[in-house]
């Protein structure tokens, strides 16, 4: 049970997430995103093994963003002609503003929760494999993404090495914060040059291993099973229940 979301076919999961996000964009009441957020977290609680500490950390920037939306809508939003709820100093807060602020900020949370669900339960390699197998993504495109994924740690090491090497050259002149940022430009050129070299080598290595970009067999089969459709329906259920808030809220 706790692995269900991880095992779900990544393409179907991606489809579910996309449908949810597109649909939510048409709801402007605060209850729909709130319910949806709760529903997504519940699904993740039940059917995944999430590191919730990490999840909270990843959620934090979105939470700050949501608060930003909330606050700016209250302060700068069109007051409209709704009832005045409170008056803080010169500021009148109307029911309309209050609702809009909640709706906007909860929307941010709803979108980010479903995106994080996808990110936390999907293995990138499996996602690409699934795209190749279910949606016939061209192997050339798929493997360029896979290779760049492999290169990320290598690039990180290279960046650190460059930084260390430059540290020994000393500041040259006094290192202001601004100077330090412009100095990054010097790291960029050798880093990019190295990346281009590596990309060429990788392309050679792939061709030398008989990669032609044409039809291929697949060692790891990413299957479509009944579970995937059940989970898809669960996502739809969460979406419809939260969407139905339009009628009763």
């Amino acid at each position: 049970m706790r692995r269900l979301l991880h095992e779900m076919n990544p393409c179907i999961k991606f489809l579910a997430v996309t449908v949810c996000i597109l649909t939510l964009a048409f709801f402007f009441n605060p209850w729909t995103p709130l319910l949806f957020f709760a529903g997504v977290v519940l699904l993740q609680l039940l059917f995944s093994q999430t590191n919730w500490k990490l999840w909270s950390l990843a959620m934090l920037p979105f939470l700050i963003g949501a608060f930003g939306y909330f606050w700016t809508t209250l302060v700068f939003g069109e007051p409209g002609d709704g009832l005045v709820l409170w008056t803080i100093g010169k500021l009148d807060i109307t029911t309309q503003q209050w609702e809009l602020a909640w709706s906007l900020s909860l929307r941010v949370l709803a979108f980010s929760s479903i995106s994080l669900l996808f990110a936390f339960t999907t293995d990138p390699v499996r996602f690409i494999q699934s795209l190749m197998q279910q949606w016939k993504l061209s192997p050339k495109l798929a493997f360029s993404v896979l290779i760049s994924y492999q290169f990320l740690p290598v690039l990180k090491t290279e960046f650190e090495q460059l930084q260390q090497a430059h540290r020994i050259r000393g500041p040259g002149s006094s290192p202001s914060a601004f100077k330090r940022i412009t100095a990054l430009r010097r790291l960029l050129i050798p880093l990019l040059a190295g990346a281009v070299r590596k990309a060429e080598r990788a392309a050679f290595a792939m061709e030398a291993r008989a990669f032609t970009g044409e039809a291929r067999t697949h060692y790891t089969e990413v299957k479509l099973t009944r579970k995937d459709f059940v989970l898809f329906s669960l996502f739809s259920l969460v979406l419809s229940v939260s969407g139905s808030a339009v009628f009763w809220a």
Partner: protein
């Protein structure tokens, strides 16, 4: 000569890259038969790797080069093959262990090759099992490739090439990044594999002494890209480098005592003690991953040390890729960057390091040897009389090694203290006043080269092998 049909028939082949005036390969004519063990030798930049890339059909297809003559692979003209088609029978292992994999684990990487060949899914597990068994890599099946050492990565790359069941294996300097014993192990492993599978092996290599009697034929290219010799391979001794007399002066330039470094609460360097005299050349040797590079970075102040003291002159650092240091647009500017030297001093350094002819060139555009000299110059101009060089010998041919030897010798005569990290025991023997060995983050006491190279137990413990110098013959590697 074998009666079997040849794998490669190259006839009067020349290749010129579009951005070069001179052709890289000229009038190459050769025939290679199945089960041959062939090595391509020659000075750096003579077109060895290019020739290898012609044999696996990556060139001229991927370089828009100007071509004359013909290359037949299994009797068919190279240009008649589709890209990737011939690579089912001609497999290649490249030099850089970091940029030849595209999947996370060994199993997936092996499967990648099979998927390319459109092997049915049901057959894949058996073929993967078989190749893992053949190459002795069973335990690594689910291992993450990027977490392995360079030596392991080369073995995995070889396994990925062999799983195609090719008729010919091409190797591009496969030992360049390996420590001596790992290199020797790789060679004997390959020897065993070749006997099992009976494929042809063609390698490009500088360091022939590491291969023992592995090869049976040698093609030597000359500087201008023609075949100089096509002959039976004879086992080589390490090349003879010039003798030098020690320039040690009894003046301590640099001293580190009880230096400890840890990273993410893991101890990397423990109680390092090192004393460097003026004019002394110190070699640090040890297996891949023993902490040698970390040590150099700690000594020159790039990495923070957790305990211990470093005193004396400031140390300068020359990384394996010297261009990592460069910050200016000209060689001249690179030396003047720190602003710590007078015009006269700069002028002296430019002359001493033989940089005058490239003073206005962009430091990224000069040759590797020149880049290293620029980096040394920049360090000396920054008043760093202690120079720490990380792997300056990796992938260098004899000419480059001789030039490096000369350069280090004259810097020592100027009174610098030099530390060289290297896997090249022959070079170490010829250059070192003192040798320290390193293992698991611990640095040994100093050894005299003679004392070290006659102690085979000690060498084996640090995954080194004895170099041959003068009349002395080292025991075969243990």
């Amino acid at each position: 000569m074998s009666v079997l049909n040849p794998i490669f028939q190259v006839d009067g082949f020349s290749l010129r890259f579009p951005d070069l005036v001179e052709p890289t390969l000229r009038h190459i004519t050769l025939v290679i038969h199945p089960t041959e063990r062939l090595v391509i030798t020659g000075p750096s930049g003579c077109g060895k790797s290019t020739l290898l890339y012609v044999l696996n059909r990556l060139y001229p297809h991927n370089c828009d080069g100007e071509v004359s003559g013909s290359v037949r692979i299994f009797g068919r003209l190279a240009q008649e093959y589709a890209p990737g088609e011939v690579n089912r029978k001609v497999a290649t292992v490249f030099q850089d262990p970091d940029s030849q994999f595209c999947m996370p684990t060994v199993e997936e990487e092996l499967a990648f090759t099979l998927e390319n060949l459109q092997v049915p899914r049901q057959e894949m597990p058996q073929r993967i099992d078989r190749i893992l068994h053949l190459t002795g890599l069973e335990d690594l099946r689910h291992g993450v490739i990027q977490s392995f050492s360079g030596g392991m990565k080369q073995r995995i790359a070889t396994a990925c090439a062999l799983i195609m069941e090719p008729e010919c294996l091409l190797l591009d300097e496969p030992l360049a990044h390996l420590d001596p014993l790992t290199a020797k192990e790789f060679v004997s492993w390959l020897d065993h594999l070749q006997q099992e599978s009976g494929i042809a092996v063609i390698a490009v290599e500088h360091k022939l002494e590491l291969w023992g009697s592995f090869f049976d034929r040698e093609i030597a290219l000359s500087e201008n890209g023609t075949i100089r010799k096509d002959q039976l391979f004879t086992e080589r001794d390490a090349p003879i480098l010039p003798e030098r007399t020690s320039a040690i002066r009894q003046e301590v330039l640099f001293e580190a005592s009880d230096v400890c470094v840890s990273y993410a609460s893991k101890s990397i360097l423990q109680n390092i003690r090192l004393q460097l005299l003026s004019g002394e050349i110190t070699v640090i040797a040890g297996p891949n991953g023993s902490g040698k590079s970390t040590l150099l970075k700690a000594l020159c102040g790039i990495l923070k040390i957790d305990a211990g003291t470093i005193s004396g002159m400031r140390a300068g650092f020359v990384p394996q890729s010297p261009e990592q240091l460069f910050l200016s647009k000209s060689v001249e500017g690179e030396l003047a960057y720190s602003g710590n030297s007078s015009t006269e001093k700069l002028h002296y350094l430019m002359t001493a390091l033989d940089l005058e002819s490239i003073a206005h060139a962009h430091p990224f555009s000069v040759s590797l040897g020149q880049k290293r000299r620029v980096a040394i110059g920049a360090m000396l101009a920054d008043e760093r009389q202690v120079l720490l060089l990380d792997e300056p010998t990796a992938g260098q041919d004899l000419k480059a090694l001789t030039e490096l030897h000369r350069q280090l010798t004259s810097r020592a005569q100027d009174g610098c203290a030099l530390v060289v990290v290297t896997h090249d025991m022959n070079f170490a023997w010829h250059i070192a006043d003192t040798i320290h060995l390193m293992k698991d983050g611990r640095l040994s006491l100093p050894f005299q080269p003679e004392e070290l190279f006659s102690n085979s137990a000690l060498l084996a413990e640090y995954r080194l092998h004895a170099s041959k110098k003068g009349g002395y013959h080292a025991p075969a590697f243990a």
